[in-house]
Each structure stands twice: as C-alpha cells, then as structure tokens.
C-alpha cells in the first residue's frame, strides 16, 4: 500500500437488527445503516463526509474506529487491517486513530477535571507517568487554546466552544495520525464554529494529521475538506476533490443537496437553478432496488430500478454512482457560480 494513504475503508457494511420480531423472537429485518462503503484517506488531508440524517455517516464513523463492530468489510490503518487485529495489538493501533465527538456536553465526564479528561487516553493506554502527565496536559491545553492553569476545573465551568477544545485536546493526547471528527461543530454557536474550525485546520497543518470530517453542514465541509464523499442511504454516491464536487457535482443527489443550501446573499434570491426534491428519504430497512436515489430522482429510468450503479469513474473522470451523471455545472443564484 502506498505510503500516501493514511486510512482505507474497503466495502464496510453494518446492519442492525430491527425491533420487529417473529413469533419466536428472531429479528427478520435489518436496518442497513452502512451498506458497502469504500474510501481512501490521503495522508495529511481531510476527507469530508456529508449526508443528511439516516445516510449512515455517524455509524460509518463508529465502524471505522471499531467502536461498533462492522458486519463485514475491512479498515486498513496505515496498511494494517484493524478488523483483523484484537487484544493488545488493537489497543496499540488505537493510539494512532482518535475521535472527536459532536456533543461537547455529553462527551466529557462531568465528574472528571479537565486534566483528568485529557490525560485519560494516556492512563487507559498505560502510558501515564504521573510527573510528566501534568506537563503533557498543560501542553495540550495550550495547543488547543485553553489556559493551562485551568486543568483542575470541571467541564461545566467552560463554555460550549471551550468544551469542544477539551475534547480535541483529549483526542491529541496519544499523538494520533488519524482523527475522525463526527460533527465537531454542529452543536456550537455560529460565532464559535469558526474558531474551532480554524483550530482544527491549524492543528492539522502543524501536526500533519489526516482527518475524516463528518458533517451535515455543506458550507463547513466545503471550507475544511480536501476531498468530499456524499452519502445517501448507507452508500457513497459521489466522491472526489472538494472543489470539483461542489462546483461540478456529478450525482443528482449532490446537486440537489447543494442547491438546497441557502445562499448567504439576498441579492441572489429567486434564482431558477434550484432543485427541490420531492418526498421523504426511503427507509434503510427496505431501500429501493437498483439505485437507492431513484425514488426521488427527476431523471430516473427503468434501468435505474433494475441495476444498481457502481461507484466508479465516469466519462469525465469523476467518481460517481449514477447511470446518468449530471453534466451541467451547478447554478442557483441569479449570477453564475
């Protein structure tokens, strides 16, 4: 495997048994949360994963880090298949891959001081040396923009943005190479989001981190990601460099998603390029046959229902899962993009 690749997911699948049971209590249906996802994370780069609720992106984050066991598939971290390792080896591998969570309130133990929280990964991994740990904690706090003298304070004494900084500090304690950030700014106020995003960018450049950034806010992902993967109903429908995906989306869903984002300019109001999707997202228990998006796609044909389009390069080199990728670039405002 090329040394340029930090992480690779191969055909990841995660099915959850549903609540409905037959007479004897055996589950007969599955929620197909992640249904065959493959991607590559390049070293030192950020891969943004976007999608709406129910697309499986949060489940994907947990499967990639093996917080949830995948139903099938592999995850290669720097060439090593973490789905095949266990015990001490897995523990050692986990040092390289850390996670930042969405909710700054519930992801920090309210009974632990900030110092304890940030040092916890070191303690868990048996790397805790009492004397050095305080120094390390202070160093990390400074790195994420917190006052190092506050290491004895408790989470409730900090604001939302500061708590998220604590969570980031904790994720850096073991000097990981890969960070999985699951909606790290969604629960924060707008004015604070920007601070945290700036911090993440600075850390990435400074520490050479490779990052997977999961979000539902497309503007945020556009800013921070080098590559973007768009998910729908458990599958990736399009993946590519961020600028390409945002300016020339190949998949109809990507186009509709981007066109639904409100533009921050009232003079662009009323443009005609807007695409409005009709209907609801189908259930992940029983996804549509063939292409999953076909029930809401304005150009679906019989072929779309019969054969599921594979995720592969189209005529123009964009990687998309569609029989009829979009050709025209996205224009939503009165003025062209």
């Amino acid at each position: 495997m090329s040394s340029e690749i930090a992480l690779q997911a191969v055909d990841l699948v995660k099915h959850f048994p549903t609540g409905s049971k037959g007479l004897l209590g055996r589950a007969d249906k599955n929620v197909r949360a992640v249904d065959g996802v493959s991607f590559t994370l390049r070293k030192g780069k950020t891969l943004g994963i976007v999608g709406e609720s129910g697309c499986g992106k949060s489940t994907l984050a947990r499967v990639v880090t093996r917080l949830i066991e995948p139903t099938s598939g592999n995850v290669l971290l720097d060439g090593v298949d973490i789905t095949k390792t266990s015990g001490k080896d897995l523990r050692r591998l986990r040092r390289q891959m850390q996670m930042i969570f969405q909710d700054p309130v519930s992801s920090l133990n309210p009974r632990h001081s900030v110092g304890q929280i940030i040092a916890m990964p070191l303690r868990v991994q048996g790397l805790l040396d009492e004397a050095d740990s305080i120094e390390r904690v202070k160093e990390l706090m400074q790195l994420v923009g917190l006052n190092p003298e506050h290491f004895n304070r408790y989470p409730h004494e900090f604001s939302g943005g500061q708590r998220q900084r604590i969570g980031i500090g904790r994720s850096l304690a073991l000097n990981p190479t890969v960070i999985i950030a699951d909606e790290p700014v969604s629960a924060l106020d707008v004015s604070v989001q920007a601070q945290i995003l700036n911090l993440l960018e600075r850390l990435q450049t400074g520490l050479g981190l490779s990052m997977i950034f999961i979000a539902h806010d497309l503007s945020v992902v556009r800013h921070i990601a080098d590559d973007v993967a768009v998910m729908y109903l458990g599958k990736i429908v399009e993946i590519g460099p961020a600028e390409d995906v945002y300016s020339r989306p190949a998949h109809p869903y990507t186009k509709a998603l981007l066109s639904a984002v409100p533009i921050h300019d009232p003079s662009e109001r009323g443009g005609t390029g807007r695409i409005r999707l009709v209907g609801d997202v189908p259930s992940p228990i029983d996804p549509p046959s063939g292409c999953r998006f076909r029930t809401r796609c304005w150009k679906a044909t019989d072929l779309c229902g019969a054969i599921e389009p594979p995720l592969q390069a189209d005529a123009s080199g964009r990687i998309v899962a569609c029989h009829f990728p979009e050709e025209t670039p996205l224009t939503i405002g009165k003025s062209p993009e």
Binding site: E52, S53, S159, G160, G161, Q162, D189, V190, S191, V192, Q193, A194, Q195, L197, N198, E201, T205, H216, L218, S219, V220, R222, H223, I224, A242, A256, L257, A260, V261, P262, I263, H264, D265, P266, S267, E268, R269, R274, R276, L277, G279, D280, V281
Partner: protein
C-alpha cells in the same frame, strides 16, 4: 392613512427575566420593534440572545411563576402582557400562531393528526359541524403538502417523518388564518433538503394568506433567503435592525459584521482562516455595564471609553433605515462595512 402604517405587532420595551438558582437571568433586556402586515422579519441570534424568550412572550407563553415580564406587546390593539387570561387565549391560534423548533416532540403522541389539526380549528369555531371540520382539516393537509391525506388523517404523529410532522405543525398554526405567524427555528432540526421544502411552503402560504411572519433563526442563509427586515439580537438586546440587503452588504454593528464574516468566508478560499469573533456569548445573570458586546468587540475603545461605561441605545444610522446599537456605528463602521466583504 393606508392600513400598512399601523403595525400588526408592536413590541415596546420588553423586559423578561427569570429567577433561577444561580440568580436572576435577564433574558430580554429592553426590546422594541414593530411588524407590519405581509412582512417577513427574521430575528437572528445565537444561544443566549433572548430571541426565543422574546418570541414566546408575544403569546404570553412564558411560565408566569418563574418569569417576570415588563413592557407592552400590542396585537390588534390588545396589550398581551396586561390582558386577561381569556383575552390572551382568544388570540392564541387565531390572531397569532406559533411553530416550534423540534417537530419530533411538538405533536401530542396520543391523538391522531387529524384530531390535533381539528382541535386547533374547533377552539375558535366552537359551533362547527363534524362535516365542516373534516373538510377544513383535509383541505389544510392538502395545502401543506401531505400526500394521501384521507388515509393519513387518522394516523399518529410517530408514523410521520420529521419534515411531514413540521408540515402538520404548520397546518395547525395556519388553520385559523392568523395575521401573525411566529416561527421559532422551524427548520433547524430538519435536513437541508427538507428545510428548503418547508421554507418554500411557508413563503407560498404567506403569499396566499397575506400574513406577517416573524422567523427566528441562527442560520444567516435562511435569513438571506426569506427576510425583508432583520433584527439581530445579542445578550437580550437588539443590536441591529436593518433591511436585509443593507444588513448583508453594509452591517452597522460589529457583532453582525463578525457573524456575516465568519459564515461568508466558507465559500471563499480555503485555509485562509475564517473570520471569527473571539470569546463566547456572555452570561445573562450579571448585566454588563456599558455595551454588552464590548468584551468581544475588535473595535471597542477600551478602558474608560463610552463602550465600557454607557449602554448604547438603538438609533438610526445612515440613510437606508438601518438602526444600530453601537456607539461607533456612524464613524468607524459604516465606512468599513460598506464595500467590506461583499463588494
């Protein structure tokens, strides 16, 4: 005198504070504004700005045992804050209607959606026949875009998706043709594609019913899409009130400028660093002396200056009808703001 010169809603010097264990929280600290027929006003603010508390006050929904409210809120000539319980009940759901943020918990899980929409109608039309109610409810469901309404009218809320539930909430709100619709973050809990559908629906219904919409949000994109007038709130005050174009192209308060700057920079070059506002929203327990934004303001004049000693009041700035609560609005900001980040 045209009817447009009489505001349908007039909020005058509203102050709302809550008694909590930690002290008195001054959620709304002197807010005044008017809303006219057919207008769409967006109230923008982050958590702690007081926008939701202010919105609940319009229909007197705040818990009277913990909240102290002062000021006047005039709806159709009636001062909501000093009216009797019966008078306020009379305008709730008929003159003024409200939709809330989380559609998943906004509906009563124990009754069918048909019954709940009907309930809103029957409260203000007590003599209506069963037939009439059924027709009205069905018509409303069709209008808000619920597919196969004859079948779904007898279903329960948990059988609907989030977007559909919000449509039902809108149906409940609009069934009595209210003059004013208050929408408290109506799309925040929804996916972006559903959000677009719901905003479209609200706008087309507004055109049809001719009502005033007061939309509360933290999302500036939504503001850009639908607003005519914008009120920016911070720490319980209005810091800026402008026409939407003026706000986006020439904001007159450092907070607005910071907000717009931080989201606008998303679309621009990457890795350039986003414009940020340092610090965090303030605690509302101890009222700041002077301007409540000054601890985070890049333009604050510092120790002993008017920014730290005198609380600014909302006043006219410039010539396009903008109002700003900043001591420095005239001198520094207007010239900096114009031609700022949106040329």
């Amino acid at each position: 005198m045209t009817e447009n010169s009489v505001p349908v809603l007039s909020v005058q010097n509203l102050r709302v504070s809550f008694d909590t264990q930690d002290g008195t929280v001054h959620a709304v600290d002197g807010v005044s504004f008017d809303a006219y027929a057919g207008e769409t006003i967006c109230i923008v603010g982050e958590s702690g700005s007081g926008k939701s508390v202010m919105a609940s006050s319009i229909m007197r929904l705040n818990n009277s045992s913990t909240a102290t409210t002062e000021g006047r809120i005039l709806v159709k000539g009636l001062d909501v804050l000093s009216a009797s319980e019966e008078e306020v009940r009379g305008i709730r759901g008929s003159e003024v209607a409200m939709i809330f943020q989380d559609p998943m918990s906004a509906l009563n899980p124990y009754f069918t959606v048909g019954k709940q929409i009907a309930e809103a109608y029957v409260v203000h039309h007590p003599g209506a026949s069963k037939h009439e109610i059924h027709d009205v409810v069905l018509a409303m469901m069709i209008k808000v875009g619920i597919p196969s309404p004859e079948k779904r009218i007898d279903e329960y809320p948990h059988q609907f998706s989030g977007g559909m539930r919000q449509r039902i909430v809108i149906a409940i709100a609009l069934i009595n043709n209210p003059k004013i619709l208050i929408a408290d973050e109506p799309t925040t809990a929804l996916d972006v594609t559903v959000q677009a559908q719901i905003l479209d629906l609200m706008m087309s219904l507004q055109k049809e019913f001719g009502m005033t919409i007061i939309l509360i949000t933290h999302d500036l994109g939504v503001v850009a899409e639908v607003a005519q007038d914008v009120i920016v709130m911070y720490a319980g005050h209005i810091v800026e009130q402008s026409h939407v174009d003026a706000l986006f192209h020439a904001p007159t308060h450092p907070y607005s400028w910071g907000l717009l700057g931080s989201v606008a920079s998303y679309g621009d070059n990457k890795r350039g660093g986003l414009v940020t506002i340092s610090g965090s929203p303030p605690s509302l327990i101890s009222l700041a002396v002077g301007c409540s934004f000054h601890p985070r303001c890049a333009h604050s004049k510092g120790e002993g200056s008017v920014c730290m000693t005198v609380s600014p009041s909302l006043r006219s700035v410039g010539s396009d009808g903008s109002r700003s609560a900043c001591h420095l609005a005239d001198d520094v900001l207007v010239s900096v703001g114009r031609g700022g980040f949106r040329s």
